[in-house]
């Protein structure tokens, strides 16, 4: 499988008394898309910025393409592309001018005209950065990250603030990067983005990776049952009574009031028992569905539901 593109071991990063990253491990295989997923303040950006060489780790080791980003930054930087969360572009620079200038810093840049067209920035070419829409600014930042034909790109929230069309165009571009052999590490809040794009998802919370696997494996990870029954009905049904009718090992929950889930080893027999129990109570299970747990369910189970 060769050398990993990114290998982070026991990374610690502190800001004053606050520990942002607390013994984090992450391995990214070459040629894959890895999504780093986590709530705000989980340590995603600090981790990525240690990989990019912006921050010096307080502990642990970081190797990117086999290099130390802090001491071997000059060798590393031509080989990676970086998309920052906020522009980093002077407001009076025109979009095309910025891209063409950045291209000149690389030995074998992409054709900037084709890249502009691909990202739908043709109409924005002569517009200064400050007058671009939020989505255009994001797409320009993405263009700047890939124009130097890097082996590895770090994309910090690449679709934040994009409309649906632009989000899909960006996803397609990221998928093409992988197809052409570029390794992609992206951070995101968006579970559907992680589920759709990523080969592996690393869930980060409180400065640690608490789960790292394929989206499928993560969704089926917890316990034997990988499916659940969901329905809505009047609030306050007697769930203990329901569980008494079902085989042992199943769970039933009501959250929020009126929204029911039955999880565990869901078989056709279990489904029949749930519906006949409802029939006996003359309750219609609205929107009844049997489905796999989504990444969102896993994420909320792992990181908790409280707002932060």
């Amino acid at each position: 499988m060769g050398q990993p593109a990114v290998e982070v071991t026991g990374l610690v990063k502190r800001y004053g008394a606050k520990t942002a990253v607390d013994g984090l491990d992450l391995r990214v295989q070459t040629g894959t898309i890895t999504a780093v997923l986590g709530p705000n303040g989980a340590g995603k950006t600090s981790t990525i910025e240690c990989c990019e060489g912006y921050r010096r780790p307080d502990g642990g080791t970081v190797r990117v393409l086999g290099l130390d980003p802090v001491t071997q930054g000059e060798q590393l930087r031509p080989r990676i592309g970086v998309m920052l969360q906020s522009g980093g572009i002077y407001p009076s620079v025109r979009a095309v001018e910025m891209l063409k200038h950045t291209a000149k810093l690389y030995a074998n840049p992409l054709d900037t005209d084709a890249l502009i067209e691909r990202l739908g920035l043709g109409s924005a070419g002569r517009t200064t950065f400050r007058r671009l829409s939020g989505g255009q600014q994001q797409r320009l930042s993405l263009a700047l990250a890939v124009v130097g034909r890097p082996e590895l790109v770090f994309l910090d929230e690449p679709t934040a603030g994009l409309d649906v069309q632009a989000r899909h165009a960006t996803w397609e571009l990221i998928e093409q990067l992988r197809r052409d052999g570029v390794t992609v590490v992206l951070t995101t809040h968006l579970l559907d983005e992680a589920e759709r794009l990523a080969d592996t998802v690393a869930i980060v919370d409180a400065g640690k990776v608490i789960a790292h696997d394929t989206p499928d494996a993560l969704s089926t990870a917890n316990g034997a049952g990988d499916t659940e029954i969901r329905f809505t009905a009047p609030a306050g049904l007697d769930l203990a009574g329901l569980l008494a009718e079902l085989p042992a090992g199943l769970t039933a929950a009501e959250q929020p009031p009126g929204a029911y889930t039955v999880g565990g080893d869901v078989t056709p027999d279990v489904l029949a028992k749930v519906t006949s129990w409802c029939a006996a109570k003359d309750v219609m299970p609205q929107g009844l569905s049997v489905g796999r747990r989504t990444l969102e369910d896993v994420f909320l189970d792992l990181t908790g539901r409280e707002l932060r």
Partner: protein, 270 residues
Amino acid sequence: MTTTAPPDDSRVAVGTALDFTPKPGAAPATRMILAQAGHEVRLMLRNPEQLLLTIVIPALMMVLFSGESLVATSGPGKRIDFYAPGLFGAAVLSTAFTGLAIATGFERRYGVLKRMGATPLPRWGLIVAKALCVLCVEVIQIALLSAIALAMGWKPHGDPLAVIVLVVLATGTFAGLAMLMAGTLRAEATLGLANFVFLLLLAGGGVIIPLSKFPSGVRHVLDALPISALTNGLRDVLQHGATLPWANVGILAAWAVAAIAVAARTFKWE
């Protein structure tokens, strides 16, 4: 655990065919630095506030002060022979100090320096590019101001090489002070203070008011300022034909070493 990409993806084929296959590499250092310097010169010359400060104000002062007796000059000689070297000093100050401080302050604020830090252009390369940009704008300024002065009957003396030595040392000093200010203050504070210091030094640095007009105690202090060393030195050469004004070169060299050393210790890129 590598998952293979989905086979064929007709949606992607719709746009222009782009091949992202990695082919990384930095451009040669010279090409990167020249590209960066050119980019910065274009941005500086496009900025109306910068143009006002670096071109319009010195040119207007040259025309107004040299043409009319608004300010009494000292000693013999034509007014233009006094003002041309002083305003060259103002031009260098406006670009290497005020312009550079403001631009760098806002570049830090907007994260431009952070973004540049992710490109193959190394930090030393960025500094060289900025120095080239400043020198390039200074050449444009001095050429323009010289043309105006010559049209008004200016007769320069002395060795052009001595002028270059003075201008380069002063540029190093002002740029060091600019980076010190931009690296420690907020962008807005830098904007205000850099303009304020520019005005103070116009008045007290021998640019438009001869330092001989000040009481001798004050004058000794003002003579030690880098802007005074620059304007005094330029007058020694251009007005009085000196070969190399050692005292002023010495003052500027000391300032340059100190300013760059302090800036290098305090400057933060983000």
